[in-house]
């Protein structure tokens, strides 16, 4: 509809997206570029070959300050936050009392504070949930006046190095507070593409100039939400609301690695009972990668059947992998059908499409370990 973008929020880069020819679509309440003139396929391949710049300013940023901030956050997540070393970042889940996933997020230890990045679609709920659980002396400080940009791809580190030599020394999941092209920034060496790269938080009022400085670097092109989705799916990474939600547990979602070892002794996080039971006895279903045979994609909500038989699961994300050069999906299947290479039928438009359970990532990660 012509007026569907009118009530949407804008990131600090809205004008720049339009200037670059971005096709704006509604996403999590924001007008966001789904693609630029290069197109999803071209942007995806460019990111894997050189470097892509993503605006992820719609995501929620906040700081948690206070002497016991890490312990306070552990009341809401099974991650080991207290064991997170200074200037390191970790992937974590907020869990529900029933053992579902309230959100997934990144937590970084900047020494004097924790820095959180949560999903755009969940930020209000997340921050309210965190605030409600904080003891005296620990404060959540929302950072709505900061933009977030991601520079991703095998050329990202070399491209940005001249603007800030210190970035080159960072390893995957390191964080730093630095000045890049004159702009004070919180940086992590991480991303949502499977590639090496950085996620960079900068003051909103300096975001456009900063983005222009990055786009002027050799090999850097803007990448929209469309390619962001195909890149993360090739990398086997979950999208909250599609692949994980309040009904899926960390065990079903194959995200047990995000649960700290100490936390698996203490069992003092929301939903610990369910997680403990599932780790002991297994789950009914598991999140797996699925590769359809041939070239036809199967999209989210496609029913998954045993070959010629009953339904055993459902696809939660599916599409075409430009670097994989073939269709790919992830979804939940009954445990008996979750082993790699198990044959499945995907019911696409009423017809079975042959597929197999496949290991993820579909395209190898290239993090700066």
């Amino acid at each position: 509809m012509a007026d569907s973008t009118e009530s949407l929020l804008e990131t600090p880069l809205g004008a720049l997206h339009r200037e670059l020819g971005g096709r704006m679509v509604p996403f999590a309440g924001y007008a966001m570029p789904v693609q630029y003139p290069l197109g999803i396929l071209g942007e995806h391949l460019h990111c894997r070959a050189a470097a892509g710049l993503f605006d992820v300013s719609h995501m929620g940023q906040a700081e948690l300050v206070g002497a016991n901030a890490a312990a306070a956050l552990e009341a809401l997540t099974p991650a080991d936050v207290q064991g997170l070393k200074p200037m390191r970042q970790r992937y974590a889940l907020l869990t529900t009392e029933a053992g579902g996933i309230f959100d997934d997020f990144m937590v970084a230890n900047f020494g004097n504070r924790l820095f959180l990045v949560v999903n755009a679609s969940r930020k209000h709920e997340d921050f309210a949930r965190i605030e409600a659980a904080l003891p005296a002396g620990v404060k959540l400080k929302r950072l709505p006046d900061r933009a977030l940009l991601a520079l991703q791809g095998p050329g990202a580190a070399a491209a940005i190095a001249p603007l800030c030599p210190a970035l080159a020394g960072m390893k995957f999941m390191d964080v730093a507070e630095v000045t890049i092209a004159g702009v004070p920034a919180f940086v992590s060496r991480s991303g949502y593409t499977g590639e090496d790269g950085y996620e960079i938080s900068v003051p909103a009022e300096q975001a456009e100039g900063f983005a222009r400085a990055l786009l002027a670097l050799p090999g850097v092109a803007p990448v929209g939400l469309g390619a962001r989705d195909s890149l993360r799916l090739e990398a086997g990474l979950c999208l909250y609301g599609n692949d994980i939600d309040e009904t899926t547990s960390p065990v079903e979602a194959a995200l047990v690695w995000s649960i700290g070892k100490r936390r698996r002794m203490e069992w003092n996080f929301p939903g610990a009972e369910r997680v403990r039971e599932e780790l002991a006895n297994g789950t009914q279903r598991l999140r797996v990668g699925i590769r359809p045979e041939g070239r036809q994609p199967a999209r989210g909500h496609t029913a998954v059947h045993a070959p010629g038989g009953a339904q055993v699961g459902e696809i939660t994300s599916g599409g075409f992998g430009p670097s994989l050069n073939g269709p790919m999906a992830m979804g939940y299947v009954a445990r008996d059908h979750a082993a790699d290479n198990t044959a499945l039928d995907l019911m696409v438009r009423g017809k079975p499409l042959a597929a197999r359970v496949a290991a993820m990532p579909f395209v190898a990660n290239r993090y700066a370990r």
């Binding site: 197109g39 999803i40 396929l41 469309g226 070239r295 036809q296 994609p297 075409f320 430009p322 269709p327």
Partner: protein, 125 residues
Amino acid sequence: MAELKFSKDHEWIAVEGDVATIGITDHAQQALGDVVFVELPELGREVTAGEACAVVESVKAASDVYAPISGRVVEVNSALADNPGTINSDPAGAGWFFKLEPSAPAELADLMDDAAYHRFVEDHA
């Protein structure tokens, strides 16, 4: 010279003698983005005007392609299986989808000519 008409679902149809060739418009391919897969109708299938009879999948999503008029499918562009990107690069030519033998040629009168289609696209932009 074939008579070229357009549907509100952004298909084009070129009728030459008793065969109608159907594809999607340049506007449609731009809106879809990069096409990665096409499902074409079976030969001999009888379709009615407005019936979904092919599917075009872009990186982003799947979309139906409708028969602009009724008829019997007499040929499909099987070259698209290996080169679906032809739909993006040459939507009005080598990117055609299928050919029909019209069963009710009078239905063509319900479709738009070139000028009307361009107005339609602008009005719905």
